[in-house]
């Protein structure tokens, strides 16, 4: 259904107090323009006039503003948090977006046109035409070495990243290991160091040369940034201390048996017995279904 027709319908239905997708049209225009700028300068943090949302700051308002500015009535939306469609944050956000847009929801990555996510990239690589909107708490990768916003903006402007590299060097001196867990900085398009949001390092490689578009929204900090398709994205590393994703040893998913996905570690009972399961629940269910089908005669 076209947006115009949908809006017409709203006029007739007087119980709806809000515009389509909640945000006023002027705000949507500003956010879209800023998003275009972000796409034109991969990895660069574009400031924007972040609006107040009915969901708390720190809970995904940046991602929500991006989604609401881009979403049309015909989109198919998937929302995940920590990889799961059922996690509290995802459920909450889905409820809100569907309330103000009426769009169809899905848990299948393959079906979705727009995916909003907190802290994970789906295991299934993005297809051409898909957009992944990531929720970002702290957009500034240099924050661990410099608290001043004025100074970090200068550092980015001048590509003066030596203090970040020095931080990694000092980690190696102290621990023989780079200690950054998630939010592992990436070097985008040979120009900007970018924070990929608190995704595990496992997900960083997906950003490189993707067919889909990655958008990053930080509502509280008021920044939008992007990785357009087919962009060069490298996790920063030394030649003798290379980038390493999380190591699960011999663990496998207790549901589907996978060894190649990012796993959640859970403590089963008081004795501390550990079990693992896929963080990406939809992917896990898919694998499980495939396995079951394999047993059919």
């Amino acid at each position: 259904m076209k947006l115009g027709k949908w809006l017409q319908q709203q006029d007739i239905d007087t119980s709806c107090h809000y515009t389509f997708a909640f945000i006023d049209e002027g705000a949507k225009r500003e956010i879209r323009r800023k998003t275009l700028k972000a796409i034109a300068i991969p990895g660069y943090q574009v400031p924007f006039g972040s609006r107040d949302m009915p969901i708390a700051r720190g809970w995904g308002t940046g991602g929500i503003q991006l989604t609401l500015s881009l979403i049309g009535p015909d989109e198919i939306l998937k929302v995940i948090d920590q990889g799961s469609d059922d996690s509290v944050n995802a459920v909450n956000i889905k409820a809100f977006i569907s309330q103000v847009t009426g769009v169809r929801l899905t848990t299948k990555v393959q079906e979705a046109t727009l995916i909003q996510t907190r802290h994970r990239i789906p295991e299934e690589p993005l297809r051409k035409g898909q957009i992944l909107v990531l929720q970002v708490p702290i957009p500034e990768p240099l924050r661990i070495v410099e608290p001043s916003e004025r100074e970090t903006r200068r550092m980015h402007a001048e590509a003066d990243y030596s203090r970040m590299w020095l931080h990694l060097y000092e980690n190696i001196v102290a621990y023989k290991e780079i200690m950054i867990g998630s939010r592992y900085p990436v070097f985008v398009n040979d120009r900007y160091i970018m924070d990929p949001s608190p995704i595990p390092r496992w997900d960083n490689p997906q950003l490189h040369m993707s067919e889909g578009l990655y958008l990053f929204g930080a509502g509280r900090e008021k920044r939008i940034y992007a990785i357009p398709p087919y962009t060069d994205v490298k996790s920063i590393e030394f030649r003798d201390y290379v980038f390493r994703v999380e190591d699960f040893g011999e663990a496998t998913c207790c549901r589907c048996g996978s060894k190649n996905t990012f796993l959640n570690e859970m403590i089963d009972d008081r004795s501390g017995k550990r079990i693992y399961s896929c963080s990406d629940t939809a992917y896990c269910s898919n694998l499980l279904d495939q396995k079951r089908e394999g047993y059919k005669p």
Binding site: E140, N264, M266, I267
Partner: protein
């Protein structure tokens, strides 16, 4: 160090107080029922008890009514009331793993022994104004509760107690070990009886924060979370529930249960690097306060850890900076005291300025 007395034209002051009361009472609405405030504005009541440092929900509700909703004033009133009460003794230390839980979550693990119990929280609601609340009928509450329980035939019980999530990390040596200093634990500082000196003991620091003003604690903790600090927190466990209060019977020497209080407790795991021998470990920040106030407990836990930094690099890590500025009663009093006449001192300043201008 609380700010107290005021002098001025007696009559003018009386009239000003009357005027304030008049502002509160005019209009067509009925006088507020203290019980309504206690039940229906319970988060605010909990906050007042915590900042007033007196566990008395009804009195807190009364203070809110009397202060026309000024939370600093209401907390102030509770503190003042507290002064009128004799100190009978101290309760015995309580083990919070024995808490009667109404809410218990961990951000560190997807699932935890005992489960993630969401409990009563507005965290996941959409902040959309509900205009239906403007004109609720007198039976609205009864009807709502009836509809909630309609058709429910079975109610499961929660376990009596829940194990502490951070114990999982402790068992694997991933968390710094408890450092119980024998001499320190036998002497718990009482900030209501002795004034703070620095460096302050952990008990003094935790007490000061536990009765600190929520906004002040939040500001300082937020600065640390945003980058002016190194805590990098993960909420290991957040609990809201009821703790039994025991005192020692002076005659029999036995512990007697005197009642229970609702508290919020936060155990925050910090990534701030630390070492135990050769191995790096996570460290812990602890927060606890009266009533249901999660923002305060988490902020307190972050600041607890921040202040353990060996060399403060930012205000949130500086013990003196934090502890001296977070008491709401002191800060509000001092801020507002600037409205008092200062014309004598000002005259003095005028004299200096005029002279300096002459010489220029």
């Amino acid at each position: 160090m609380g700010y107290v007395a005021v002098k001025g034209g007696r009559e003018a002051i009386d009239k000003a107080s009357d005027f304030f009361r008049y502002n509160q009472t005019r209009g067509e609405s009925e006088p507020l029922d203290v019980e309504q405030i206690q039940n229906q504005l319970y988060f605010l009541v909990d906050r007042i008890m915590s900042e007033g440092s007196l566990y008395a929900p009804k009195l807190a509700a009364l203070a809110l009514k009397q202060s026309a909703g000024d939370s600093l004033e209401a907390s102030f009133m509770l503190r003042a009331y507290r002064t009128t009460l004799p100190r009978l003794g101290y309760s015995l230390p309580v083990d919070t793993s024995q808490m009667r839980i109404i809410r218990r979550i961990s951000a560190a693990f997807k699932d935890i022994p005992g489960g993630q119990i969401l409990g009563p929280t507005p965290d996941y609601t959409l902040r959309l104004l509900n205009f239906d609340l403007i004109s609720e009928g007198t039976n609205a509450h009864r009807e709502y509760i009836a509809s909630l329980f309609q058709g429910i035939t079975q109610i499961d019980t929660l376990p009596e107690t829940f194990p502490k999530v951070i114990d999982i990390l402790r068992r694997e040596n991933l968390l710094v070990e408890r450092n119980v200093n024998e001499s320190e634990s036998s002497k718990i500082f009482d900030i209501t009886r002795e004034s703070l000196s620095f460096p302050a003991s952990r008990s003094a620091s935790l007490q000061t924060m536990s009765m600190g003003e929520t906004g002040g604690l939040l500001t300082l903790a937020y600065s640390n979370m945003r980058g002016y600090g190194m805590v990098h927190p993960t909420v290991g466990e957040l609990r809201v529930g009821y703790l039994d209060v025991y005192v020692k019977n002076p005659y029999t020497g036995l512990a007697e249960r005197t009642g229970e209080i609702k508290v919020t407790e936060a155990e925050v795991i910090s990534k701030a690097e630390n070492r135990q021998g050769d191995s790096p470990v996570f460290t812990l920040g602890y927060g606890i306060c009266f009533g249901h106030n999660e923002t305060k407990a988490i902020a307190m836990a972050v600041l607890d850890r921040a202040m353990q930094a060996e060399e403060p690099q930012s205000p949130s890590e500086d013990q003196e900076f934090v502890l001296q500025h977070i008491d709401g009663i002191e800060s509000m009093g001092f801020c507002n005291h600037y409205k008092l006449p200062h014309y004598v001192t000002f005259q003095s300043e005028l004299d200096r300025l005029r002279k300096a201008q002459e010489k220029a």
